[in-house]
């Protein structure tokens, strides 16, 4: 118990912050309520500091804690910059003017509390060593996001997004819960390392495969992978843009951490994953990339494009999951590639979404429209160079432009896929990267080369500096983080290195059987 508490310090910090924010958010004084964003920021940064000092955890990937939690808290902080004020904009002003009290919008403290709850859930996923824990963590990630979507805007489409997200999410949750039940049935324990030991000792039967596949499919909802991707575009479009940015990172990260843990129970032995699991992931990966990209090519709404591209990116990352840790070399380590990609994706994604929130237009200053369609973006680089260029950089990086961050991230996925011998899948990945250029370049050309439509409202810079800051920081990070490629890559491969020995080393006679042959 106490030794488990030691790995939970970041989560505890977040929870304490949550409680404080909930109480402060109820304060009668406007100033005190305004402080809740700052308190949240402080809590997130504290969690970041504590996360970096995380000791080794338990379970299958024990080395992951420091890297994963620091990444979650770091990107979470960037997201917080974008989200601060997403809900309570103008509400305070209207209240002071004596207009109608609109409780659904009076959610300053609560909104940050949901954000923190959800972030806590993502972190808990990283440390999960047990199916029960994993289940609870995944639920803790999603449940607050349902509410965040619903309250993110007072428009009907936000509520529509919430309905779709919540109900389909419940169905996804039921799916992976059933999968967990079958996994438990097959192994007789809920402990992930116990399951791995059992599988290694007595083989993996159809029951276990059914459980694995249902679990993977259920978790696919979190990462927005085919066939659980349907909600993605609608929800991202309907929710307020800052919340969409959050949805594109947090549940995805939680889902990938969960997938890594679940798939680690069967392990990547000599020939990679066991065939049924490999086939499942292969089909999902190929479909996800393709479906995400081809649907994105048709869109005119930037938010929908980014939503479908988020689907496609999940497909890319699944390649790393299929490749597995390889023989541990940084070049072949698919799991490390996923962890690195998640960080990069988080940063680039914040850049792209934050840019959309930086410019506001519309008559109502309390609930303005964000940039939404490709037409809205026209000439952004000329009219708002800072925001425009940050956006262009982020999008180029999402595209995987050489020397930008996304290139290195994708490079690792490619190399791990090739090292694992998944040539066909890597070709699919390459083709899809090419398709992705179609719509990413449309965004870029709108922002860079086209002239703004004179008849349209040019928009104004948002009064919320945090959004511009997040946008610019992400844009700069896309340029600067490649300089830290080596350390980051090493940190990510260290994060999964011990997990590999746990997953593979426990295989009976694995190394022993190999050595005499090597001797001969």
């Amino acid at each position: 118990m106490t030794e488990k508490l030691a790995i939970l310090h970041p989560e505890i910090a977040l929870f304490i912050t949550t409680c404080v924010v909930m109480i402060v958010g109820l304060s009668r004084s406007v100033g005190a309520r305004r402080a809740s964003a700052w308190i949240t920021a402080a809590g997130t940064l504290t969690a970041l500091g504590l996360a970096l000092r995380s000791p080794e955890g338990f379970g299958l990937l024990p080395g992951m804690l420091a890297y994963a939690k620091a990444m979650i808290a770091g990107v979470g902080f960037l997201l917080l910059l974008v989200m601060a004020g997403a809900v309570d904009r103008g509400y305070e002003a209207r209240l002071l003017r004596g207009e109608t009290f609109d409780p659904i919008r009076a959610t300053r403290g609560e909104f940050y509390a949901f954000f923190l709850f959800s972030l806590m859930g993502v972190m808990l996923c990283a440390g999960a060593d047990d199916l029960i824990w994993l289940f609870l963590a995944l639920e803790l990630v999603s449940l607050p996001t349902y509410i965040m979507v619903a309250i993110s805007s007072s428009r009907l489409r936000a509520q529509e997004a919430a309905v779709k997200y919540f109900f389909l999410g419940a169905m996804g949750a039921a799916t992976f819960l059933y999968g967990f039940a079958l996994l438990y049935g097959a192994a007789g324990t809920t402990s992930l390392s116990g399951i791995a030991t059992t599988f290694a000792a007595s083989g993996i039967g159809p029951l276990a495969y059914a459980g694995l596949i249902l679990s993977i499919l259920g978790v696919c909802f979190k990462i927005a992978a085919v066939p659980m991707h349907f909600y993605t575009a609608d929800v991202y479009e309907g929710a307020a843009t800052p919340v969409s940015a959050y949805l594109a990172f947090a549940p995805k990260t939680a889902g990938f951490l969960a997938l890594m843990l679940i798939v680690s129970t069967v392990g990547w032995h000599d020939g990679g994953l066991p065939e049924p699991v490999r086939v499942t992931l292969w089909v999902i990966a190929a479909l996800t990339m393709t479906v995400g990209n081809v649907l994105a090519t048709l869109q005119t709404s930037v938010k929908r494009i980014l939503a479908y591209s988020s689907v496609a990116h999940s497909g890319y990352m699944l390649v790393g999951l299929i490749a597995g840790p390889g023989d541990g070399g940084v070049f072949q380590n698919g799991l490390a590639a996923i962890l690195f990609y998640l960080l990069c994706y988080g940063v680039m994604n914040v850049g792209a979404f934050a840019a959309l929130t930086c410019i506001e237009r519309g008559q109502n200053p309390d609930d303005p429209n964000d940039l939404e369609t490709l037409d809205d973006l026209k000439g952004l680089c000329a009219t708002r160079p800072l925001v425009g260029w940050a956006m262009v950089l982020s999008v180029l990086s999402l595209l995987g432009m050489p020397v930008l961050l996304g290139f290195f991230a994708k490079l690792l996925l490619f190399s791990s896929g090739i090292a694992a011998g998944e040539i066909v899948l890597v070709v699919v990945l390459g083709l899809n990267s090419a398709i992705a250029a179609f719509y990413y370049l449309r965004i870029i050309s709108s922002a860079m080369f086209e002239t703004p439509d004179a008849r349209r409202d040019g928009g104004r810079l948002t009064p919320m500096r945090g959004r511009v800051l997040a946008c610019v920081v992400s844009g700069a990070a896309v340029l600067v983080l490649p300089l830290l490629f080596g350390p980051l890559q090493r940190a990510s491969s260290r994060a999964v290195s011990t997990g590999q020995s746990a997953a593979i080393g426990e295989r009976p006679g694995g190394t022993q059987a190999a050595s005499p042959e090597a001797g001969r």
Partner: protein, 751 residues
């Protein structure tokens, strides 16, 4: 603080690079040397933060000056620790952090290793000392020069400026070719951003685009060079690379002499260097680059970035020497000489003083390349060093004039500036700079130019074809240089006092270099009145000065920087007398680095051997050149005095003008830059355009069709899939259920 203490070991942990142990003779340098590039980066980031916070003060300038100064001190500290003030013994590598390490096998050449590490030897330090030192001074200058932009582009300017220094230090200090490439592209990017700094001015944007495109051609050469190097040697890190080059073998141990790589790798690098250092035929971007703010011209387009090509060749000199026929070096020598001559002739006929300086930079870069070509890395580096100081001085003086006279740069419209009130420092600094550039005896420029000139006659024609011819061209150029330099000085700085404000005076939207609003304190001219005047002003028409315009004499920062630079330009000459056996301090620095060459160096060893290797009209070239070039320089100055000072009564009228008629159209051709731009337009752009029209048709018919088809496939697929996204919750649920069933069936079928 704890968090930082944890981050640093996590991310920057200087773990021993597993795959590669640096060569035995390359020790490990002080790890804090990494601060030299990182401090400017930090400064740039802080300026970004200032931009975010919309800082409306000079804070970013002070941050940048402080950080660059610290970076300079760090450079000096590294130097002193490594055995300064003399050259460092050998090289060392300061490991920052592992950057890129890919391995696809265990054998040699099966790993791409590029760490963020610094290669510290005296060549690097020589460059870094003047890069960081000059950058600090010029940033200080810019803090005043750009003051009209405070609150607008000020933050942005200094962010780019500091970023440039970061990129330049990556270029110079990186211990591998990838870092050099990173810096190379980085300085290119910053240069592009700074040329286009006044992005609302079409000519600035066009100039930035031109620089960008021309540089890409050069970059292609560099990329090919890096790639071929990696393929040949299996590494791009300097230490093992030079070890192999020293032994004359490639990565798998085969001898390199006579191989195609020995010829082509230098040629690739040479093309890269031509692009960045504005040599024929890729020089056209540099004069246009003067659209950028003058401090940028001084730092980037005169003192530092454009010498990156010289650095690249000097750094890679061992590889250049691998080629027994010296193909690349011969081309370098000739290109340098011709560039020097051509640019000097164009410079003679220009009227825009900043452009004259730009052509002069191209011309002097030609000298440096000629020096590299005739096997005197010392001469080239020495000229880089002295040129950095005096050319920065000259540019900054021009900048001060421009700043003071509302963007006026036409030498026909200014006269006697040096004697106006408050312009004394500028005048003296300008004189020092001009004397240096003209090669007046005992100035730094005189010594460095002499060294190159002498070597052209020392180096036998059998080694570098036509080396002495190169020498004659350069001698001629030296005279022309002295002429056009003092043409500017005599017309603008001395003589009757007269001036005419530039077009920025009142033309708020058309700002040249210099923003619309003059600093407060000059509010006496009424804007409407000024615009009225501007409308009356015919471009080129001679108007008496008058109206309300008063020149705006430089302030403390500009004067201080000019004074320091002028003194430094003078003192640079003294370095020639330190370490005399190595041809001065710079020579010593170069000789203790890889640019010091082994094979052909015999004739550089002792003075006695010189005479037998080459002669200048039967004399020892080194001694003869002291007199010859001095005389040539004096003649040039005298001619300038004769034509542009003596008997001149106004700004626009000079005796030279009478002479122009006698020369026919030649001066006009020179003024039109020998129609090189038009030639490019005719030879390259027009045919390309015509060709592209042909291709356009083909493209429309075939390629477009294919591309459209390729683009249509995903769109078609997307259109097919789109109905699945019909917005209905139930359809989505059905899709999910169907997907689950489908995948279960697939797995069931497989297993």
């Amino acid at each position: 603080m704890d968090a930082i203490a944890t981050i640093l070991p996590t991310f920057l942990a200087a773990e021993p690079a597993g795959a590669h142990a640096p060569g035995a003779q390359v020790g490990s340098g002080p790890p804090w040397a990494i601060l030299i590039p990182l401090l400017p980066l930090l400064a740039s980031a802080l300026c970004g933060v200032c931009a975010m916070l919309r800082v409306k003060s000079k804070a970013p300038a002070f941050i940048v000056v402080a950080m660059l100064g610290a970076s300079f001190l760090a450079t000096a500290a590294v130097w002193l620790q490594g055995g300064g003030p003399g050259p460092m013994a050998g090289a060392s590598v300061a490991h920052g952090w592992d950057w890129i390490q890919f391995a696809w096998g265990d054998g040699p050449g099966q790993a791409l290793i590029a760490n963020f590490s610094l290669y510290l030897d005296s060549l690097t330090l020589l460059w870094m000392l003047f890069v960081t030192g000059l950058a600090t001074l010029i940033a200080l200058y810019a803090s005043e020069y750009m003051s009209h932009d405070v609150g607008q582009g000020y933050n942005r300017f200094f962010a780019y400026f500091a970023l440039f220094v970061f990129a330049m230090s990556c270029l110079v200090m990186g211990d591998n070719l990838l870092m050099l490439f990173l810096g190379w592209e980085g300085v290119g990017l910053c240069s592009y951003l700074l040329i286009g700094y006044f992005y609302k001015k079409p000519s600035a944007v066009a100039a930035a685009k031109k620089a960008f495109i021309v540089n890409r051609i050069g970059d292609l050469g560099l990329v090919l060079g890096v790639f071929t190097t990696f393929v040949t040697f299996g590494t791009i890190e300097y230490a093992p690379l030079f070890e192999m080059v020293g032994a004359g073998v490639d990565g798998s141990g085969h001898a390199l002499h006579g191989s195609w790589q020995a010829t082509w790798i230098p040629i690739f690098f040479m093309i890269g260097a031509f692009g960045k250092s504005a040599q024929l035929p890729l020089y056209v971007w540099l004069p246009d680059a003067m659209e950028g703010p003058t401090p940028v011209s001084a730092l980037i387009h005169a003192a530092t970035m454009v010498t990156a090509g010289v650095y690249l060749i000097a750094r890679m000199y061992p590889i250049f020497l691998l080629d027994d026929a010296h193909t690349a070096l011969t081309i370098v020598a000739w290109t340098g000489a011709l560039t020097a001559l051509l640019a000097a002739t164009i410079g003679m006929a220009q009227f825009d003083i900043k452009r004259i300086m730009a052509y002069s930079t191209v011309s002097q870069l030609g000298y440096m390349f000629a020096g590299l070509g005739v096997l005197t890395t010392t001469g080239a580096a020495f000229h880089v060093f002295t040129h950095a100081f005096f050319k920065a001085t000259l540019f900054l003086c021009c900048g001060a004039v421009m700043h003071g006279f509302a963007g006026q740069l036409d030498l026909r419209k200014l006269s006697g500036v040096a004697f106006m009130k408050g312009w004394g420092v500028v005048g003296v600094a300008m004189l020092v700079g001009c004397l240096n550039l003209a090669g007046f005896p005992f100035t730094a420029g005189y010594f460095s130019k002499d060294m190159i000139l002498a070597e052209t006659f020392v180096t036998p024609g059998s080694v570098i074809g036509g080396a002495s011819m190169v020498g004659w061209i350069l001698l001629l150029t030296a005279g022309l240089t002295a002429y056009y330099t003092f043409r500017v000085f005599f017309r603008v700085f001395v003589g009757p006092q007269m001036y005419e404000p530039g077009e920025e005076h009142g033309h708020a939207p058309h700002r040249h270099d210099h923003g619309p609003g003059h600093p407060p304190g000059h509010g006496e001219h009424d804007l409407a009145d000024a615009r009225d005047q501007a409308q009356k002003d015919e471009p080129g028409g001679a108007h008496p000065h008058g109206h309300d315009f008063h020149p705006h004499a430089p302030g403390l920062a500009i004067n201080a920087v000019l004074a320091i630079l002028a003194v430094a330009s003078v003192l640079a000459a003294l370095t020639y007398f330190i370490h005399k056996p190595d041809h001065g301090w710079v020579g010593a620095m170069v000789h203790h680095s890889t640019a010091h060459f082994g094979g052909l160096d015999a004739h550089h060893g002792d003075e006695a051997a010189h005479a037998s290797h080459g002669s200048f009209l039967g004399l020892d070239p080194h001694k003869a050149m002291y007199y010859v070039s001095a005389v040539i320089g004096m003649v040039g100055i005298f001619v300038a005095w004769l034509l542009h000072y003596r008997g001149r009564t106004g700004a626009a009228v000079a005796p030279a003008d009478r002479l122009l008629g006698a020369l026919g159209p030649i001066p006009r051709w020179a003024q039109q830059k020998w129609f090189v731009d038009e030639l490019y337009d005719f030879v390259i752009v027009k045919p390309l355009w015509a060709l592209s029209n042909v291709f356009h048709v083909i493209d429309k018919l075939i390629v477009d069709g294919l591309v459209n088809l390729a683009g249509l496939t995903p769109r078609g697929l997307g259109a097919g899939l789109r109905p699945s996204q019909n917005g209905l919750l139930h359809s989505y649920a059905a899709g999910m259920a169907g997907g689950i069933v489908f995948i279960l069936l697939v797995v069931w079928a497989v297993s």
